[in-house]
């Protein structure tokens, strides 16, 4: 009976972890659907989400709100922040690769470099100016943004004749790995490698739900077999279910969702329907990244798991495995794959093999690639060469 109790509890834990994997996996699978490459920077977007959540909760301006409000606002901040970041990455790196560098790419590039100009030039200027630091930083940023925009616009439109777009998916993949390193190391520089741990008070630990499966007498003692679910776990599950239902409705039943599916199925045909491919691709980055941001918040600020700036690699890889397991390109597959991965990991963690907890996902990956390369819900189409 002890074993059954353990099994039930680990299943609950696994589903909670799995719903986090599923939220991240959706981002991999949707981007793969429209662009046929793995956006390896996605895990690092999740990391940024976790940090936004951390700083929002530690910030004083939110601490006066009741816990539910505080949690909702933080969730919203994480999702918006990550959506902006995801779209920014697309505009900065992937779109110029896909379409060739042109004058339209000047703004994201100027924005990117202006951040560095602000950090370094702003620091130097503020050390020798009487003005308050924030004014110096803001002015440096905007002056640099405007001048760099103009400079890039001019040079990119001159260069665009000589630069051909790269249709090679490998190029995009390597770029994604590069962006991943950039975000990760920028994370180390900005947030340091100190492990952070915080839990949203009020929701997470004050509520407990005990569900008993059955009761039995052994000797004269009453034993209860069941699970104990914390408020945090309920919150993670509920939020994941709401976000996923919303996503599945959006993709399945709206005009925009149909356009996303059309671009995934056949880019040229979609273009001939008048669907603006770049807009739709940008949108998939926004949706996927905002869900990764939500996952970062749920896993770290609601469940209270400690993290540092390298978390994106570990969690991102596992979520990627979940997406492949479910069938890359399929949103339902990402959900199934995520849940399976979560439960598998939780079972391993709760058994005598607990030290293999992190290895089990990759064992599953190897097995699935051997047995059913298309994934559980994948279409398993042979690529024509």
């Amino acid at each position: 009976m002890e074993a059954l109790q353990n099994l039930l509890q680990q299943t609950v834990n696994g589903i909670q972890l799995g719903s986090v994997y599923a939220l991240i996996a959706v981002g991999y699978t949707m981007v793969y659907g429209v662009l046929q490459f793995i956006n390896f920077a996605h895990g690092d977007v999740y990391m940024v989400g976790a940090y936004i959540g951390f700083f929002a909760i530690t910030a004083t301006f939110l601490s006066h709100f009741p816990p539910v409000m505080q949690g909702s606002i933080t969730l919203l901040l994480c999702m918006t922040g990550c959506a902006l970041l995801g779209n920014f990455i697309e505009r900065l790196a992937y779109r110029p690769l896909r379409n060739g560098l042109s004058g339209r790419d000047a703004f994201p590039w100027a924005l990117f470099w202006s951040l560095y100009v602000m950090l370094f030039l702003g620091k130097w200027l503020s050390s020798r100016s009487v003005l308050p630091a924030w004014i110096v930083f803001t002015v440096t940023f905007f002056v640099s943004l405007v001048s760099l925009s103009a400079l890039f616009k001019l040079s990119f439109s001159k260069l665009s004749k000589h630069l051909k777009p790269s249709s090679d998916r490998l190029t995009a993949l390597i770029t994604a790995i590069g962006i991943s390193f950039l975000l990760e190391n920028q994370g180390v520089a900005l947030f340091t490698t100190t492990p952070r741990q915080i839990q949203l008070k009020g929701i997470a630990n004050d509520i407990h739900l005990r569900l008993s499966a059955f009761k039995y007498y052994s000797g004269n003692k009453l034993h209860v077999v069941g699970v104990r679910i914390s408020g945090g776990e309920i919150t993670v599950l509920a939020a994941a279910i709401i976000l996923m239902s919303f996503l599945i409705y959006l993709v399945g039943h709206t005009r925009t969702g149909r356009a996303i599916r059309a671009v995934s199925l056949d880019k040229d045909a979609a273009a001939l329907m008048g669907i603006p491919a770049d807009k739709i691709i940008g949108l998939t980055f926004i949706i996927g990244s905002s869900l990764a941001g939500a996952a970062g918040f749920l896993n770290h600020e609601v469940s209270g798991i400690s993290f540092d700036s390298n978390i994106g690699i570990a969690l991102g890889l596992k979520a990627f495995v979940a997406a492949v397991l479910g069938g890359i390109g399929s949103i339902e597959g990402a959900v199934v794959g995520g849940l399976l991965m979560g439960v598998a990991e939780s079972f391993t963690g709760g058994s005598v093999l607990s030290s293999l907890k992190d290895a089990v996902s990759f064992v599953i990956l190897i097995a699935i690639l051997l047995l059913r390369p298309g994934g559980i819900l994948g279409s398993n189409v042979q690529e024509k060469v």
């Binding site: 005009r255 040229d268 045909a269 001939l272 329907m273």
Partner: protein, 235 residues
Amino acid sequence: MLKVVDLNVYYGAIHALKSVSLEVNQGEIVTLIGANGAGKSTLIRTISGLVKSASGEMWYAQSRLDSLAPHQIVKLGVSQSPEGRRVFRTMSVHDNLLMGAYTRKIDRATLHADMDEMFTLFPRLKEREKQQAGTLSGGEQQMLAIARALMSKPRLLMLDEPSLGLAPFLVQTIFSVIQNINRAGVTILLVEQNAHQALRIAHRAYVLETGCITLTDEASKLMENDAVRQAYLGG
């Protein structure tokens, strides 16, 4: 209505279209015939904006098409039913038609009226409305591809090989539907390998050979042309 002047297109080192000029007037059916690999599809893919030209000009009404993205060209009223049908296989017939109307901001009633119009044109699609497009037969998929292209209410419809791989009686049906569409006021640019059928319904025709326009005339005159008869009409 559509005017292409001195168009050059390259695929890497291959010069696919060499100084191609072509004109389509309002209300016409113009056909572009030529052998496999002559560049017919390349030409209409370039007009649709899917392939970028190296030089030359393309005009539709008062707008220059060269620098526009495919979705902007559709918005202007130039629609294409691509080679190989390219229907969205895992979407229903209904959803495929909805995608066709993507650029139009219209209410439900107009949409349904337009869809019914397609179902009168192709009654078979009505029976298959809820079915996945990938499960349709080749002929039905071709009908769907044409109907889908018409859902954007184009003024110029470009059809790429609508008879490819169809049974002879279906080819007849498709071509008579094309004539009906034209009578309803849609200008048509028809790319075909089935030169006999294409020339029968077209007003004017262009012959494309290895990237060059070699002949152009009224369709009926080309039918009498010895060179055309030898090369494309089987003697």
